[in-house]
Point group: C3
Chain length 349, copies 3
């Protein structure tokens, strides 16, 4: 640990205000699984840069405020201290705070919804964590996805909320897209827009800041993030996705998270795991396209749903698990207290 | 316990017929979590009054018959006696029985569907109970919601069933509603229509009967029901919901259930719990608006889905839970028998 | 066991190639819960016959290749040997391989998607198995359903995939169908098209081959398959379903699986279980109609989803389960390590 980091930690241990800032910065960092305030600071810088360039400063303000509200809600609820200290209560809040002003008009009702959403997402995070822990899984960003789906859909029924950039609800139809024409620079921008779009920011410089943030905490994470973005671009092009979406990083943000999650956070890095993660990345691109079509009649974005579904499905297998065979259930519909999965110990992957 | 109640209990213990009636009345009462035959009787009176006034007596007949079929199915399946005695096998049936004739035309096919639905909902109740028990949760009214969604959707494909009052499937669109103009009486009616709409009845007198039924068993429940209805009206108005829906109690029925469930049934009443329940009520209103928009392309109502989702999400948090951190899963994709949530004992909320 | 079967088993134990073929054939058989290579061979014959007659040989080729890829993926992942030996890793793959060429045009992108889907479905099978094992349930064909929903929906966004026979996304509307006019032969064909449509084959001779395959391993399974198909036809006609769908076995394929699953695979055959299975079959028909309407805006088929949902719901009840009563949760939102379902031992159904 560097001297500056040690000094920061000592300050956090002495001052509740610094501790709170530390927890919020780690919360930003945990969006891509990094328990580091410096990484979180770079992620926030990426958001502020992208929002400022796009003339949507409310997105950066919303993200910052929502991180604080989500973290504060966890404190008020007297949640697990260790998890608070790791920033686990901030990373869903920051995404709610970035999403709400991105899709709804900037007025008092939007801010009220954002504040409520940031408090509620902490409750939803604890709820989803409790459910997923049954299978040894993290809640990841699904609490953000679920909560924000509710917030966006509710805007259709609440006239004081103004939908600005949600696509109008429509049936999916077989797409026909313009020919793929991109310069080398377009591809490089797309590569970095993937990590930026994790935070709903369409800006390559923001993506560079995000990758630098990752690099400062974990080489593995930075490499897997770029691998995820690159493989997603290639997969989307092979199957003939809309070039406009590809170049704006819209096929890349979920695979970036899948790549880091499978490649080096939840599984131990190895060649075998890397191949497994590659299949997971390709699957995430398919799920991204599927949810884009599937949510089209509702007029809401997928957010990072494709990452959550694909990564959960790729972490749930236990290859030494004996699936329930097609034989009679003990006790039939009367029931018997079933036992938990009998697993055999085998050499680890 | 009053003398009349004691006498009734003695009769129930002697006569199987009285016992069955007792179980059905408690089943009606359990819709709002009350294990009391007298409360259930008032709820049924509310349904009969509202159905009679609306000229839809088949709704009351359906609700009554379905309670009996659902309870009888549980007996035939030899379900847990203690739960039967508390009316836990009737409260989903009564709602199926009220919903089917509300939305489908009165003919033999509707009654056949109602009878099948009332038997099936008991199976679904046992199924959902088994799943939710994993996290210490009750099935609540979700078995009714799930089963009735299937029944309603099936009507689109079965020409002997006639859809009467389902909204035609359509895309959600940003609503613009008339100005909010309501007399004091309109607000008072709306306050009581919330509890009435729990039973799909649009009648303030029925709501008064429901609240009296609650009062007779639990002051807390009656107060929280009215608080839930009032807070829902205020929240819906603040965000600019359709006044027509607000005044008909359509934003109130799910929050009424959330309020009673969080405020005094599943959590121990306190100021802290009350504040938590208030956030839950507001969230239920948001989920109500969201599901109204989200189910719009399917042309089916939300039923009490918003209550189920919001209340489950607000009961699932265990603040002493250590969420899965973003670290490597033991055993990776090979798997290891994971242990259950390690919880630390802390003072109760 | 016949001499031929014994000889085959000896060969499988000696030769890895024969063992792999054996696992793939059993994989085909496990679609209807049969752990028998001979049964699987008849199912494959049914697919090849039906595909050849329909001039869609790519469906049979796809089904065969996908069974091998799904099984090989399980081997590469070093999955549980015993389950591999029973063919549990092939039965979802074969269905993915039959579905993809049925609904997408025959080009290189379709085959790439099919190969990826067949590998991914093994991961999804392990994932769903891990989740459902919590309640003592098998994953059944849901991994196929979920994976193929993703594959089909993604085709809307990928222009190199060509949607051929998916129904265009549309709102459900109350159907009015032509009068039911069918000869005795039409009804007999419909009876056998149910089992054939399990494999997405619209051909009565294929259905006969499927039933013969069942007969060779289990009289019970063959009888329940035909009972499921017959009861489904009757139920659909009573409620007024589209005769065209009924005569093409489209109301029968899920009930066939429900009937075999509930009637003789997961529950011990008895009169009581048979009555329970009959209610489950009727429910499956209702769910089939409901999902047909519910998926209509997405333009994707239900596949065997109705079977999965209905059968899970009918296997989940534990009648000796004490559902969570409507009382205070120990520890409230602070939480306490809840215990697992306390079940009482009662005489088996």
């Amino acid at each position: 640990m560097s001297d500056a980091a040690s000094a920061w930690d000592r300050m956090a241990n002495r001052s509740p205000a610094v501790l709170f800032i530390d927890e919020c910065l780690r919360g930003a960092g945990q969006v891509i699984f990094q328990n580091s305030p410096l990484t979180g600071l770079f992620f926030l810088l990426g958001i502020w840069w992208g929002a400022a360039v796009a003339g949507q400063i409310e997105v950066a303000v919303g993200a910052t405020i929502a991180t604080m509200i989500a973290t504060a809600t966890a404190i008020v609820l007297r949640s697990n201290q260790e998890s608070l200290r790791e920033g686990l209560f901030g990373f869903n809040g920051i995404l709610v705070g970035a999403a709400v002003p991105t899709f709804l008009g900037n007025n008092w009702a939007m801010w009220l919804l954002l504040i409520l959403g940031a408090a509620i997402v902490t409750v939803v995070f604890l709820a989803v964590s409790n459910v997923m822990k049954t299978w040894g899984l993290s809640a990841m960003t699904f609490p953000f996805v679920l909560t924000t789906w509710f917030l966006m859909l509710s805007a259709y029924q609440f006239q004081h909320l103004h939908i600005t950039t949600l696509a109008a609800p429509a049936f999916a139809h077989q797409g026909t897209f313009p020919a793929l024409k991109g310069s080398a620079m377009d591809y490089i921008e797309a590569l970095f827009k993937g990590p930026a779009q994790v935070f709903l920011i369409n800006n390559a410089v923001s993506g560079v800041l995000v990758v630098i943030g990752l690099l400062l905490n974990s080489w593995y994470a930075a490499v897997f993030a770029l691998v995820g973005s690159a493989v997603a671009i290639i997969t989307a092009i092979i199957f003939g996705a809309d070039p406009h979406s590809v170049f704006n990083g819209l096929y890349g943000f979920s695979p970036v998270l899948t790549a880091v999650g499978l490649g080096c956070v939840f599984l131990t890095p190895s060649w075998r795991v890397t191949l497994y993660a590659l299949l997971g990345i390709v699957f995430t691109v398919i799920v991204q396209a599927a949810l884009d079509a599937g949510l089209s009649p509702l007029g809401i974005p997928t957010f990072t749903g494709p990452f959550n579904f694909a990564t959960w499905l790729f972490l749930l297998p236990r290859v030494n698990l004996r699936p329930e065979p097609h034989t009679q259930i003990r006790g039939g519909i009367v029931g018997e207290h079933h036992e938990h999965p009998v697993t055999q110990n085998r050499p680890a992957l």
